[in-house]
Amino acid sequence: MKGLWQLVWLEIKIFAREPLGLFGAVGVPVLLFLALGRAMRGGAGPASPEWAFLKAGLPVLAALVIATSAVVSLVTIIAIYREGGILKRLRATPLRPATILTAHVIVKLLFTAMTLALLLAAGRRYAAVTPEQVAPFLVAVLFSTAGVLSIGFLIASLVPTARFAQPVAGLIFYPMIALSGLFFPLAAMPPWLRAVARVMPLTYAVSLMQGVWRGDPLMSHLWDVGAIAVFGVLFTALAARVFRWE
């Protein structure tokens, strides 16, 4: 993995130079969160059921959106790098292909963690969270993100150009979010829809993140962890088989 951390640092710097790069990925979600929180203050009080839903659901929804945008962004970057021949040029160096992809995953995870940490810090203004609650939640989110990034690699492998990569990634991920059990409980779905939800990794990610946020120990969600890991390994293996460098 020689060159991994140099590449990670390089990609962070390059991303930070994108117009709206850092601001879009990190600043916008945090600002939006603060603005919404402020607007909500005039509504029902913190003791109301609406607030209870927000406290339980909002961090998970936020985590899901951040993870999804990380995947969409990864897919786009890989497509652009492939189209421009950057991947091919890197392949002609001693850098190992796995190192290149790992570096991008690490960059995405770092930004995910940063955005979420800022969100949670901002959230303290409205509802106190403790480090004991936040730390396992961050672990759950990063694990889930790493798991779904493997789908990103698969999409990036199958979608030829950057122009299509972004919409295709969105098309796959937004329905998965809708069916993930965050908005409608799985139990309320008709059996066929529930079956569809069961084969989507985001369903397990939501179950894991929701549980950990509620205060369940990570150990009690081994089933979710296992499912995400299986999906991750499966999609990574599949992506490795069909991945195209040019």
Binding site: Q6, R17, Y81, K88, R89, A92, P94
Partner: protein
């Protein structure tokens, strides 16, 4: 006789039904600039990418510095330098960052700052890749190809899209690489580039190598005729030129006579003839056949078609 730096024997590469490279064999000697020359789509880049280890040929064997490029991996990659056709870097990577990052990937390197100096990129070290001109980008790619002080450098269509001035500057850089004892393998579809730059060239078309030699050797073998154009009002001149040994044809276009012949001493013969018979000449020039003519002769078509 030292071992050739590159030895290619009988490689073939097909993409589906399209055969890009068919039974190609050649050797590259240490310290020379070797050119694969042919029109676009002739199989030059596919051959190069097999040499660089980016593709495996379907058949045949390749040894670069004694190693199989596709299997050797890092062991070979640290010893070769590569510039790919139409490659890009990250839009917002700085020139200096790119060179330092590349340097971090190799066990031993030349000094990145000195390299940028040498390639005239010192002023640009803090510029983003996307802001560079075509010539500057190519110089950066040469820098990346040289950062590990490689024994062999592969340059694919190095000057395509550059203006003549930038092209000449790049040629000087490539000659500089050879002077430092490196071996250079390049592809080009520009006959002038091959003729000016390469010690030896392989002419490749439709995935096959037609002939390999020095540019001069190829011209002597395939286009041995010499051509002298004399402008004179002397009506007897044409007959006298036709009587010279080895002269094939003398075509008249008004007062201008085009003399063609296979005799290597044709120019001297014509000069002596003019002088002996006191022929009054108002213009005199000779035309050497070029690689362009060799290509036309070998393939029946111009490389520009």
């Amino acid at each position: 006789m030292t071992e050739p730096v590159v030895r290619v024997s009988g490689i073939r590469k097909a993409y589906g039904p399209v055969v890009a490279v068919d039974d190609v064999s050649f050797e590259v000697r240490r310290g020379e600039i070797f050119g694969l020359v042919g029109p676009n789509g002739a199989g030059k880049t596919t051959t190069m990418e097999c040499l660089e280890g980016l593709r495996a040929p379907d058949r045949g064997t390749i040894a670069v510095l004694g190693l199989d490029p596709f299997r050797a991996g890092t062991a070979l990659k640290v010893k070769i330098g590569v510039q790919l056709q139409e490659a890009q870097l990250q839009k917002r990577i700085k020139v200096g960052e790119a060179v330092r990052f590349w340097a971090s990937l190799y066990p031993s390197t030349v000094d990145p700052a000195a390299l940028l100096d040498q390639l005239g990129l010192r002023e640009k070290r803090n510029a983003w890749f996307m802001t560079l001109s075509g010539g500057q980008k190519q110089r950066l790619f040469i820098a990346l190809a040289l950062i590990n002080d490689p024994e062999v450098v592969f340059l694919d269509e190095l000057t395509t899209g550059l203006d003549p001035q930038a092209r000449r500057a790049i040629w000087d850089l490539v000659r500089g690489i050879r002077e430092r004892g490196k071996t250079v393998v390049l592809t080009t579809h520009l006959m002038e580039e091959a003729e000016r730059l390469c010690d030896r060239v392989a002419i490749i078309e439709h995935g096959r190598i037609i002939d390999v030699d020095t540019p001069r050797g190829l011209v002597a073998r395939h286009c041995p005729e010499r051509l002298v154009v004399v402008t004179t009002a002397d009506g007897s001149a044409r007959e006298r030129f036709l009587a010279l040994p080895g002269v094939g044809t003398v075509d008249a276009d008004g007062p201008s006579l085009t003399i063609r012949g296979n005799n290597p001493g044709l120019v001297t013969d014509v000069i002596q003839c003019v002088s002996r018979h006191g022929i009054a000449v108002t213009d005199f020039h000779t035309t050497e056949p070029s690689l362009e003519d060799v290509f036309l002769r070998l393939t029946g078509r111009s490389i520009r078609d």
